[in-house]
Point group: C2
Chain length 175, copies 2
C-alpha cells in the first residue's frame, strides 16, 4: 500500500489502500504514482538524483514526508536502497528496473506540458536523445504498426484478467 491518506472531507468510498488490488491497469499504476510527491521524486530520479539530502534540497519537503515517500517507493519496488561510503556507510536511492519503466509516464507528462503549458520564453528543459543526437519529444506509438496513438482510433475490451465482480464499473463505453 502506498501513500494512503484519508481525504480531508473524510470520504473513503473507494479504498486507496486497496487500489493496487483493482483489476484496472490505470488504478494499479495510480497506486504508485497518484501522489504529487512520488511524481516529483520520480522526476528527480530520472534527472540523476539519488541522495536524501539532494531530494530534500530540490523539493523543500520535510525529512519526515520525504522518508515516508522513499520508503513507500522502495516497498513498491520502484526504488532500491544502495550503500555508499562517505566516512560512514550511507544509502542512496536508485531506480529499479520497474522504476526505470515509469520513464514513459514521466516523458508523456513532459510532452503534454511542452504542448499545453509553455510560456512565451520557450521550453525550460530540453531532452536530448543520445542515439540520434537531437532534441526530442516523446511520441507514443502502437507497438504493432508503429503509428502514433490517438484515443479516437482505439477501443477497449474486457480481457481474461477482469474479475466478474469488477466488470460493471470497468465497462468501456466505446464510440
Amino acid at each position: 500500500m502506498l501513500g494512503f491518506r484519508m481525504e480531508p472531507d473524510g470520504h473513503a468510498d473507494m479504498r486507496w489502500d486497496e487500489l493496487d488490488q483493482e483489476a484496472c491497469p490505470v488504478a494499479r499504476c495510480v497506486a504508485v504514482i497518484g501522489d504529487r510527491w512520488n511524481l516529483m521524486l520520480l522526476r528527480d530520479c530520472f534527472m540523476g538524483v539519488r541522495r536524501f539530502e539532494d531530494f530534500q534540497a530540490r523539493l523543500g519537503i520535510t525529512r519526515h514526508v520525504l522518508a515516508d515517500r522513499l520508503r513507500g517507493l522502495v516497498a513498491a519496488d520502484i526504488l532500491r536502497r544502495a550503500p555508499y561510503h562517505e566516512g560512514r556507510t550511507r544509502y542512496e536511492y536508485r531506480l529499479t528496473p520497474s522504476g526505470m519503466d515509469l520513464y514513459p509516464v514521466i516523458m508523456a507528462m513532459v510532452t503534454w506540458s511542452n504542448t499545453h503549458r509553455l510560456g512565451a520564453e520557450g521550453r525550460p528543459l530540453l531532452y536530448r536523445h543520445k542515439g540520434c543526437g537531437k532534441h526530442f519529444d516523446a511520441k507514443l506509438v502502437c507497438s504493432e504498426c508503429g503509428e502514433a496513438l490517438d484515443p479516437r482510433h482505439t477501443n477497449v475490451e474486457m480481457g481474461p484478467g477482469m474479475p466478474s465482480d469488477q466488470m460493471l464499473r470497468h465497462a468501456p463505453v466505446n464510440t
Copy 2:
C-alpha cells in the same frame, strides 16, 4: 490551481497551489494530474464516460468530491461542459483537445501495469488499435529517429524558458 490540499502533517514547503508556476514541465503536468481522483476520472473519460452519475457510479465517490474535481478539470481546460437534453437541459463532460493529449500519460501507465503488476489470470483490459486491428501496447519513441526511448540514452539540458532562480533545483545530474 488544482486539487491543493494541506498534507496531514501540515507541511507546505513547496506550495501546491503554485505548482503550475514551476518551470519544470513535469511539475506543470503534476498540477493537473497529481491527484488520484483526477487520474481515475481521466481514465473513465478515455473509456467514453461523460455523465456525472456515471462517473459517480464507477468511482463510488461523494457528489461533493466529484463536483470539485470536475470543476478543477474544467478550469484547467482538460474537460468542457456540454449541454444535453433529457427532459430538462443537463451537462456532460467531454475531453478538450488538451485533455485528449493526456492519452499518452494514461496509456504509458497501462503499459507499465501490464508489465509490472499483472496477475496470473492475465490482462484485465485489452486495447485494440482500429488502424491496424491488433491489440497493442503503448510504445514511447523518439520523435526524431523513431527509436524506443530509454532513460539511460537521454540527457536533460537547460532550455531558454528556465528562470535563473529555479536553475539550481532543476539542475540535471546527467550520467
